[in-house]
């Protein structure tokens, strides 16, 4: 495999092509779990696993798959990996699995996974597709992790369930509720896009 190309894919998915900022895809299922950092980490790990392996599988079967039914095949491949994640979570982390509830299953309809399979895995060799899957998974996850960190810190004064802020801190309960996630993501996009515009102007 071409090393240079792999590196380029990796970097573009993390920055310029980041699914969350630029395409605003797939925020549905995972935004809901960003109120506690631990759940977000588990969810992100599951998502990276599914994206990487479904990209790999789609890429492996891309030449024998009739293009008429490719959406259905892709969905089924993704669903199989999501079932694996769900079963593993139920077996080893029943508590987290209960808190995540339906959102693990909703990884299936996460547009990012489908989008990567369609846009990348269908036209690229398996190894490169795997890297692309990992990269877009990570690019997606780190945004969520930052949001989850801030939400948990401000909303309940803790990180990973441990209290870090003292008694002087008044919890912003809005941060752990639904509007907090919307505002956080909006501010995040604002900052990142603002920085991008500034850099463009600086270079031109």
């Amino acid at each position: 495999m071409n090393n240079f190309k792999a590196k380029k894919v990796l970097l573009e998915d993390l920055g310029k092509n980041n699914p969350v900022f630029i395409q605003v895809l797939g925020i549905c299922s995972t935004l809901a779990v960003t109120n506690v950092l631990r759940n977000t980490v588990v969810m992100s790990a599951g998502l990276i696993f599914v994206t990487a392996l479904s990209n790999l599988t789609v890429s492996l079967v891309r030449n024998v798959m009739p293009s008429r039914i490719r959406m259905m095949v892709e969905t089924l491949i993704i669903a199989c990996y999501v079932i694996i994640v769900d079963i593993v979570l139920k077996a080893y982390m029943p508590e987290v699995s209960r808190q995540l509830g339906p959102y693990v299953g909703l990884i299936i309809t996460n547009c990012i996974i489908m989008g990567r399979a369609e846009a990348f895995a269908l036209s690229n060799p398996p190894g490169l597709s795997f890297i692309d899957g990992v990269a877009s998974g990570i690019g997606y996850s780190y945004v969520l992790l930052v949001i989850a960190f801030i939400r948990e810190l401000m909303g309940s004064g803790s990180v990973w369930g441990h209290h870090v802020l003292g008694d002087w801190w008044t919890n912003w309960s809005i941060m752990v509720m639904a509007p907090g996630a919307f505002f956080m993501l909006a501010v995040f996009i604002w900052i990142v896009k603002g920085m991008m515009f500034r850099r463009q102007e600086g270079s031109s």
Binding site: L25, G26, M72, G105, T109, P179, K193
Partner: protein, 197 residues
Amino acid sequence: MSEGLAFYAIFFAAIFTNNILLTNYLGMCSFLAVSREVDTSVGLGWAVVFVMTTTSVLNWLAYHFILIPLDLTYLRFVVFIVIIAAFVQIVEMIIERVSDKLYIALGIFLPLITVNCAILGVSLFMVIRDYTFVNSIFFGLGSGIGWMVAIIAMAGIRQKMARSRVPRALAGAGIALIIAGIMALAFMGFSGMLKIT
């Protein structure tokens, strides 16, 4: 758990206090993409209401009469998504045959709906919360209407906003998310009414 809840409580909770979009974040993708004009939002909204109600009924039947007896509940993700996709495809074909007008109004939205997380989400919530058959119907219907209300309100606001000056970096998705956040705040005002978990 759901035994004590009347179906109308579930119905109204799904529209207001537990709005599928604003408290559970489901269906955000098409929400952000489509909510630019009121007319298209209304069309998509109706399509979602229809598909959500019927698929939650179909998935309830499949879950309780096929998956539970055969002890295959771990396959529910695959079964649900296949049922949803197949159903949407069939509806699309029927509408195309029966009515041109309806096809133009709804047909173009149907393929979008298969990948709408809210549809699958409603089916999964229904299984996790262990709803009875009647409750599932009203939960599907209520969630669909709740989603439609949210997307139409959003489209109205965004149409007005076309004339205002938004900071450049915030235009598009950013401002849409802020509006969604404010709307979620407003919907929290309903939370004293009733609650389902």
